[in-house]
Symmetry: C2
Subunit: 233 residues, 2 copies
């Protein structure tokens, strides 16, 4: 089945208090069964997750990262790899300093990204009468591999883990240990259709209807590996 | 820009010695500027990377994983997380036991996945006169996150890391630490268009022409984090 990625043009610069669902619904031809992938940055802006911070005050930057972390995994120079209150392991607690209007503020992750995704989905349904799945994406680094890929930090209405365990392979034998992280793959994919300097903070993905659910479901939370199960934390 | 994922139907069951480039070129309407993502499994099969192994002999399985590893990172039960000779950190040295005709063999990773990708690209060009980028994909687990995503273990003709450092954000300030792992995102994305039980071992990605290069380039190697730079190895 063919899958199509369509960047959503025409979303204006988002500011605190904007009703993001209406901006997205107005800019994109959304349908039930689509997945709309929205960058964390515009969600955090709409939710006014700005925090005063002088970008050049390294001690204050470090203190903010530590405040937003529940556990520090590694430090190297200015870089801190930590676990956030949401359970995400990422650099600098996911705090963003780029693409902000000044150098006196930092942008924090949404407090409840799955809640943000559910609210966006409900808002889009209210505005347009359609019910696409919603994914909130953010760029995370990885252990062992270079570069960042986008992952799903929030979701509503998407099967984020596709569990193949117990199903059979083409030869009738059980597939081993195959759980596909659909949610993260959708986020990674959406990022490819965006041009980072063109200000396209949302991408519409069409052709994944089989992973879109009427109910909002558990969000992106199942993508976070619980600490007892984690060999690298 | 719209990106399209098209699963390649009609590739027959691949066996040792098959000329994979011709099978893919015959099954897909490839163009220069496309990216064709091919699963490691059919490349390993064509390259006869089968190794005798009784699937039920756990000691022999463990010994094979250890033989294919240069460094063991973690063990839990039957699971071994290790670094392969290629530098990949993954479960069980990337050795595959599913989707094989019997229970008496294991399928190893290609010896030189970037070389395999270059050979595929050259073979497709010889067969069809077009020069799409080629990515070899495999499903890897991740630290900190549940489920597997496909990553690029080999590549030819694709910019696998898109380095934004030094470029400016929309407000004219330098973007920090932004290197997008394009190659891995392309692999992750392609997996979404496949149905694992439908036997679609290749996916054509159209719309990423700006990341496709005439020269084969350094392959997927730049996606592997060098050990001295790795905080989790």
């Amino acid at each position: 089945m063919t899958v199509e990625l369509i960047p959503v043009d025409g979303i204006p610069e988002v500011k605190a208090g904007d009703v993001l669902a209406e901006l997205i619904a107005a800019a994109a031809d959304l349908r039930t069964g689509d997945v709309v992938v929205v960058t964390q940055k515009i969600v955090s802006k709409a939710e006014n997750r700005l925090e005063p911070l002088d970008h050049h005050d390294l001690a204050a930057r470090r203190a903010l990262v530590e405040r937003e972390s529940v556990r520090i995994l590694r430090r190297r120079g200015d870089l801190i790899i930590s676990e956030t209150s949401h359970g995400f392991v990422c650099a600098n607690a996911g705090i963003d300093l780029s693409n902000l209007p000044g150098e006196d503020a930092a942008l924090l992750l949404p407090e409840d990204p799955d809640g943000s995704a559910r609210a966006l989905r409900a808002g889009i349904e209210a505005a347009r009468g359609v019910r696409p799945a919603v994914v909130l994406s953010d760029s995370f680094g990885r252990a062992w591999r270079m570069g960042q890929v986008d992952v799903a930090i929030g979701a509503a209405g998407l099967l984020v883990l596709d569990d193949w365990r117990g199903r059979s392979d083409a030869h009738g034998r059980e597939l081993r240990a195959t759980v596909a992280a659909m949610g993260d793959a959708v986020a990674a994919m959406a990022d490819l259709a965006r041009s980072k300097d063109a200000g396209e903070p949302a991408v519409l993905v069409r052709g994944l209807e089989r992973f879109v659910t009427p109910e909002d479901g558990p969000g992106a939370a199942p993508l976070t590996r619980p600490k007892p199960d984690d060999l690298f934390r």
